[in-house]
């Protein structure tokens, strides 16, 4: 064997072979660099989107990069069984499923006044008896402004506060909306939207579409909403000058008893768009009331059970499946990026900013 090897010793000219090896190794490294984004700086990555959200909201280590201000809630979903025929997910069988939820307002600033924006959000993580989870983040608005993650990024850039004035440049915003007619329904809604005085009186919507799959394997496109039982009466409106009225209102209401919402599934008719969050589905769609979301306690997010939850809308139990809405994978990957940033900051991973502020 040794002799054979001696005989097959390389000829003198090995330069070409060395070059070939170098080229192979460098080519593999370059492809990796491209796939991993280092050699493709123009690609829209989760990091770029979250960087942009962060620079709009300000540096607030430990907080979510969007919907930074919020409050944890806990309770249970009381299923009436009406949806069990349409989805095999365990929580739709009659019975109760506990959840950890979060009520919040959009934006990356955890100290933003509650009245500064007319949108509220409700996120839920249902912990199913069989160990599965369903996570959903819903906004109290009828539609999303844009259809794609790229447009979302461009929207954030176009409405980024100008460092000089502290306000978005109206010209840039106008140019964006002019180039994006799909924002029309959202703009029409937001023109008349008023910041609500309470989290409890809002209807929160999945906005993105999903599919329910039944025991027979049939799949149906749906959007869902949670509709409040409690009306706006008695909330007394927001105290002028109070920046944190939403949390105060919530605690006051919970002092008097649990808050309830109905979880309703809205079924698409053939032809309804299932991959476009800027389009409402016309009224009169088949609607199934699946049961009641009962909130019986709230807790500040600083040490609450929702703090270290990533409400990734792609974490679904069997029986619920994602649609082709292009916002969904973008939400999944950016929420993961935001979640890693804030948990790394809590863990004091080197290179991250330490959470220094008291969390409201």
């Amino acid at each position: 064997m040794t002799d054979e090897r001696q005989e097959s010793r390389p000829p003198v000219r090995t330069t070409g072979r060395w070059v070939a090896i170098g080229v192979i190794v460098a080519a593999v490294a370059a492809v990796f660099g491209y796939v991993g984004g280092w050699l493709a700086p123009e690609r829209l990555t989760p990091k770029r989107i979250v960087d942009e959200l962060q620079s709009t909201g300000g540096e607030h280590p430990g907080f979510r990069r969007n919907h930074a201000k919020g409050i944890c809630v806990t309770g249970r979903f009381e299923s009436n069984g009406a949806l069990a025929a349409f989805s095999t997910a365990r929580l739709f069988a009659p019975g109760n499923t506990p959840f950890v939820g979060r009520l919040a307002i959009p934006g990356g600033n955890p100290y933003a006044p509650d009245g500064s924006i007319p949108i509220r959000s409700f996120a839920l993580r249902f912990d199913l008896a069989d160990g599965e989870q369903w996570r959903t983040g819903m906004n109290a608005m009828p539609v999303f402004p844009v259809t794609t993650p790229k447009a979302f990024y461009d929207l954030t850039v176009a409405t980024h506060p100008d460092p000089a004035t502290g306000k978005p440049d109206p010209e840039k915003a106008k140019a964006f909306f002019g180039a994006h007619p799909e924002t029309g329904p959202f703009l029409a809604w937001i023109k008349s939207a008023k910041p609500s005085a309470s989290y409890a009186t809002e209807t929160y919507r999945s906005i993105n579409a999903f599919y329910l799959r039944d025991a027979g394997g049939q799949r149906r496109a749906v959007r869902w909403q949670v509709v409040p039982e409690q009306g706006p009466e008695g909330d007394g409106g927001a105290a002028a000058g109070d920046a944190d009225f939403l949390a105060a209102d919530l605690m006051k209401r919970l002092g008097q008893g649990p808050l309830r919402w109905h979880l309703q599934m809205i079924f698409a008719d053939p032809g309804d768009p299932v991959d476009d969050a800027t389009k409402v589905w016309p009224d009169g769609r088949k609607l199934v009331d699946a049961g009641t979301v009962v909130v019986d306690a709230a807790e500040a997010q600083a040490a609450g059970p929702c703090r270290d939850v990533n409400y990734d809308p792609m974490i679904l139990p069997r029986g619920i499946e994602p649609s082709d809405d292009p916002l969904l994978p973008a939400r999944s990957s950016t929420y993961a990026d935001s979640f890693l940033r804030r948990t790394s900051e809590e863990a004091h991973v080197p290179g991250t900013a330490h959470p220094k502020e008291a969390r409201p």
Binding site: M1, P10, I24, P46, G131, P149, S333, T334, S344
Partner: protein, 179 residues
């Protein structure tokens, strides 16, 4: 000769099968975390079951390797190269077993369900601990990069043996006898 001069066919089969799986995994991982498109979804759906398969095969491979010694490296290889070869092989074993474990562990610590598709779900191997999640998630990334660099060096060395030294080392793994 008492020692086999090529690797056992089973070792070779596992080597090339797993090399393909692992290289794919490195690219899938790097690609999915830098994408906001639908490929993020389907790459992640491949990543988890493929990663767990690598873990299972790595355990089998380790057991086989411990009971079936590798053929010796050529006598005329400098000592530092022999040491580097052996060290990198054992580093590969650490990574082939450790990286999937870190992946599984980080999802467990983050309280994410470890779904493998088709309704298959693994139990958590760590209790919920968001700080541990952060450390493991960062470790998953840096260990993957270490894996990639080791793979580049390993491939470069293998090609050097095959094309420059032509000493039978590459053939020991391809299975063709040295000419």
């Amino acid at each position: 000769m008492s020692r086999p001069e090529t690797f056992h066919w089973f070792a070779r089969l596992l080597h090339w099968l797993m090399a393909a799986m692992i290289v794919s995994m490195l690219f899938i991982g790097a690609g999915m975390v830098t994408s906001v498109e639908s490929k993020h979804t389907w790459l992640l759906a491949i990543h988890k079951p493929l990663g767990i398969s690598i873990f299972v095969l790595a355990l089998i491979r380790l057991g086989f390797r411990l009971t079936h010694p590798a053929p010796p490296l050529p006598d005329d290889m400098p000592l530092w190269q022999k040491l580097a070869a052996h060290a990198s092989h054992w580093l590969f074993y650490v990574l082939m077993i450790g990286l999937p474990l870190v992946g599984w562990g980080m999802l467990s610590a983050g309280n994410f369900p470890v779904t493998l598709g088709g309704g298959l779900r693994l139990p958590p191997i760590l209790p919920f601990d968001p700080l541990l999640y952060a450390w493991l998630r960062e470790a998953h990334r840096y260990l993957a990069w270490l894996f990639f660099l080791t793979y580049l060096a390993h491939m470069g060395a293998a090609l050097m043996h095959g094309l420059i030294r032509r000493d039978g080392v590459l053939q020991a793994m391809t299975g063709r006898r040295a000419q």
